[in-house]
């Protein structure tokens, strides 16, 4: 028997909002949350704007000692997990702790913390770092802290496959549930806005140099000039369906029915190569696993890098799977910036909320689609049947991932298979 994985709680900490309601309102209204970087003076850098979680702080909500031991990235994890659990009404003390896991994606660790400690090490003759560097910067820091905080003592995991990992974490949550775990805190969070981390990102040549937030990040547009980085992400409560039904979970946002991951297997040259076929195959694998025909998918949320070559590859892949203009496509990264691992998780949030609201939120661009990128973009926020959503994500270095979400309808008889 296959155990089914459903999402029963969502915790959002993103430029678009620090609640699902705020996120939904922001993207439905097409409101940009990009602006000049305030976390440090970025005026000397080639990219000066970003999507920040304005006013974010967990001071007062988390023990002060713990705050100094952790990076902003982990702080976001604390808040998102708290919010997701509250949203799910799940009392973890009622669940076997060894059947609760944390599976999160991150591709750059505790950047601000790490840069501060590097500065201390290299600028002072004593050549030391603080006692918490060893636990604050590394990629597993947030998952480790969440595991302790919520007594999630099952098999935990940390996926670092750049921006595709936010989707891979949901696939792995479903795998874990199928192996007997009851609850998984899954998703992706990133805090890539420190001077050094931004300098690293600038080296790809993919970041937009524009300073006008409305013109900086234009995926699929003839005027696309790269992406704008952003911070934040989402933690989901992913639960075994029977477990969710057994405790009468107040909301079942949707089921993770399909996933697929492929790799280009070739090196991008000047960012212009990539494999529409392999990306399309990731989407087909997700459809196949979810036993869904392309025609039954009501909405696609693409990766939307905002770089002409990869955008064309993505549009070509979507056309290959769904047919020309075969499916409504909507993207909101232009409003929030690219949150790396957090971005794909935020797109999953949008997909789940669209199914709950039965509304396709209008896309944030393109105004003038580039040649080959003329997809069926959802121009306006509109009521529509949304029973199935596909989210795509691509990671630097050739990663392609897709996740298929299905609206959960109360079923009198639970279908079992496998």
């Amino acid at each position: 028997m296959i155990r089914r994985a459903v999402v029963t709680g969502i915790g959002v900490v993103a430029p678009s909002g620090t609640s699902t309601d705020e996120h939904w309102a922001t993207i439905s209204a097409g409101e940009s949350r990009l602006g000049p970087v305030s976390l440090f003076d970025a005026s000397s850098y080639r990219t000066t704007i970003a999507g920040e979680v304005k006013g974010f702080s967990v001071e007062g909500k988390v023990d002060g000692r713990l705050l100094v031991q952790t990076d902003r990235w982990t702080h976001m994890g604390f808040q998102a997990a708290e919010q997701a659990l509250a949203d799910s009404s799940l009392d973890l003390s009622t669940v076997d702790p060894y059947a609760v896991s944390v599976v999160m994606a991150s591709s750059s660790g505790g950047n601000q913390f790490g840069q501060r400690e590097l500065q201390r090490l290299w600028s002072q003759p004593s050549r030391t770092v603080g006692a918490y560097q060893s636990i604050a910067w590394f990629y597993a820091a947030t998952v480790g802290q969440l595991s302790i905080r919520h007594q999630a003592k099952g098999p935990n995991n940390v996926l670092v496959s750049e921006s595709a990992g936010g989707l891979d974490s949901l696939a792995h949550a479903a795998r874990s549930i199928n192996r007997g775990v009851s609850v998984v805190l899954a998703g992706g969070i990133e805090a890539p806005l420190s001077p050094y981390a931004l300098s690293c990102q600038l080296r790809t040549g993919w970041l937009s140099p524009r300073t006008d937030p409305r013109r900086a990040y234009l995926p699929f547009d003839t005027d696309a000039a790269g992406y704008v980085p952003g911070e934040g992400g989402v933690v989901f409560v992913v639960e075994d369906l029977e477990h969710a039904l057994g405790r009468a979970a107040p909301t079942i946002y949707g089921e993770i029915t399909g996933w697929g991951a492929t790799h280009d297997g070739e090196r991008a040259v000047n960012g212009l190569v990539g494999s529409p076929h392999q990306y399309a195959r990731a989407m087909r694998l997700a459809l196949e696993r979810g036993e869904t025909e392309p025609g039954d998918v009501h909405m696609v949320i693409p990766d939307a890098l905002g770089v002409p070559g990869p955008d064309l590859v993505e549009a070509t892949a979507i056309n290959e799977v769904f047919g020309a203009k075969g499916v409504p496509v909507t993207s909101h990264k232009a409003l929030t910036g690219r949150l790396y691992q957090g971005g794909a998780a935020l797109d999953v949030t949008t997909g789940l909320l669209a199914m709950r609201e039965q509304v396709i939120p209008g896309t944030a661009g393109p105004r003038r689609p580039a040649k080959g990128c003329e997809l069926n973009f959802a121009q306006q926020t509109r009521a529509s049947t949304v029973d199935s959503v596909m989210v795509g994500a691509r990671g630097f270095g050739g990663y392609n991932s897709a996740v298929l979400l299905r609206r959960y309808a109360n079923e009198t008889a639970v279908v079992t298979g496998g």
């Binding site: 440090f40 003076d41 031991q69 702790p97 060894y98 944390v102 591709s107 750059s108 840069q115 400690e117 590097l118 090490l121 290299w122 600028s123 002072q124 050549r127 030391t128 770092v129 603080g130 560097q133 060893s134 636990i135 590394f138 990629y139 597993a140 480790g144 802290q145 595991s147 302790i148 007594q151 999630a152 003592k153 099952g154 098999p155 935990n156 995991n157 670092v160 792995h172 795998r175 199928n178 007997g180 775990v181 050094y196 300098s199 990102q201 600038l202 080296r203 790809t204 991951a261 492929t262 790799h263 297997g265 090196r267 494999s275 195959r281 990671g395 630097f396 270095g397 050739g398 496998g418």
Partner: protein, 426 residues
């Protein structure tokens, strides 16, 4: 956790880059001779640090077959991964082409990824720590590759043109076991037929040394570097950092059989638990590690008394040695006192995320060669650690079932079982 598949995973290739030997054969020779590869750090000036010893790889990337471009693009840990993958693939005899490419994945682990490159670049961009607003113009064109550890698996995938699922796992010091475990689940679930799986880390840089100094996790025993790593010995004083990488070719059993592949062993069980206790501290009862062992044994349909060898985490910290000794007793009962247990970290140090994969390579070679590597530098008995740690000399014995465990920051505990291939009783 449940078994949900009849698809079985076997190991058909092994590649290793480790201190004391940069090939599978040299590695195994080093271990079975009980030779230690720990020494005073030469890769950077460690004279100001509390711990100045490490196990370094004598690694020449050009000699190891990497091109000038590979070397420019890739940080040292990625180079380890590329070289270990090449050796493992050659060893497996697998021809990666045609439709198999879609069914082949890459899953690699790394605890700290491109830290070494990130630090050396930081020093330049920040003008030796002077500027908070670092100057991006001085950055290497490959700096983003260093920031995101996804490069490790992507570079291997690109090298062989594979199109299956590719992932990098970073669960700290259990990354290696967890990466191989993730790969195993992909094979079990039919998401791949072949996975190039392993881990690599090259953490030997000032920031790593300073980080472990700050919490006194590494040994201050600088006077006798070759004897500095002393797991389970009464006089242990912390771990010795290492570096390296290992790659295993995991293959679905029937796929391996159809091509008459050489089979080292079967991966029969993998499980992980977390202690939910402390980022660095361990409860001395070892419960979570024990639960991971129990689950792995259950998946393997193996009784505790059938375990022929335990490749211990054996980092050489007092709390670890006692923690895992307790875990072995809890899971194996009386058999814990009989089974040979050793820590290869005594010889090749603790390479953080890489070591779990290197230890699985050792387990594959132990099953294949019916030899158990020793715990070097074991001289004085710790009354709290009263099991058979195979002191100093390797042993030849039938190794039917090898169990390996890992324990890491964040509270992660993982266990994996390699067994000689046998037909399942129906």
């Amino acid at each position: 956790m449940r078994n949900c598949s009849l698809r079985r995973t076997v190991v058909t290739g092994v590649g290793v880059v480790a201190p004391g030997g940069s090939t599978r054969k040299a590695f195994w020779k080093c271990l079975t001779e009980g030779r230690t590869a720990t020494r005073r750090i030469t890769l950077f000036d460690a004279s100001t640090f509390r711990s100045q010893v490490a196990a370094e790889c004598d690694f020449d990337p050009t000699q190891a077959g990497l091109s000038a471009r590979d070397i420019r693009r890739s940080d040292r840990y990625v180079q380890f991964g590329l070289v270990a993958a090449a050796e493992a693939l050659a060893d497996s005899g697998l021809e990666l082409d045609g439709p198999l490419l879609d069914r082949t994945g890459v899953v690699m682990g790394s605890a700290v990824g491109g830290t070494t490159a990130l630090e050396s670049e930081y020093v330049v961009l920040s003008d030796t720590g002077r500027d908070w607003l670092v100057d991006a113009d001085y950055a290497s064109p490959f700096l983003y590759h260093a920031l995101v550890p996804s490069s490790l698996a992507a570079d291997i995938a690109v090298r062989y043109g594979v199109h299956g699922p590719v992932q990098v796992i970073s669960t700290g010091c259990t990354s290696g076991i967890d990466a191989i475990g993730y790969a195993h689940q992909l094979v079990q679930d039919g998401e791949a037929d072949v996975v190039i799986a392993g881990a690599a880390d090259s953490p030997l840089s000032p920031v790593t040394a300073a980080s472990f100094d700050a919490i006194k996790a590494t040994t201050p025993n600088n006077d006798a570097p070759e004897r500095a790593s002393r797991p389970f010995d009464r006089d242990r004083s912390g771990f010795v950092l290492g570096e390296g990488g290992a790659v295993l070719i995991l293959e679905e059993l029937e796929h391996a059989r159809r091509r008459s592949a050489p089979i080292y062993c079967e991966l029969t069980g993998y499980a992980a638990r977390s202690n939910g206790f402390h980022m660095t501290g361990l409860r001395q009862d070892g419960v979570e590690m024990s639960l991971a062992i129990d689950d792995a044994l259950r998946q393997a349909r193996t009784n505790a008394d059938e375990v022929s060898y335990i490749c211990a985490h054996g980092s050489g910290t007092r709390q670890n040695d006692r923690h895992e000794t307790a875990a072995f007793k809890r899971s194996l009962g009386h058999h814990a006192y009989q089974v040979p247990i050793s820590s290869i970290k005594s010889m090749i140090g603790h390479s953080l995320g890489a070591i779990g994969a290197i230890e699985m390579a050792a387990c594959a070679l132990a099953v294949d060669g019916n030899t158990v590597p020793p715990t070097a530098n074991w001289e004085n008995r710790d009354p709290e650690c009263d099991l058979d740690y195979v002191p100093n000399t390797a042993r030849e014995l039938p190794v039917e079932v090898a169990l390996s465990v890992g324990s890491g920051f964040g509270g992660f505990q993982s266990a994996m079982i390699f067994a000689r291939l046998r037909e399942l009783a129906s």
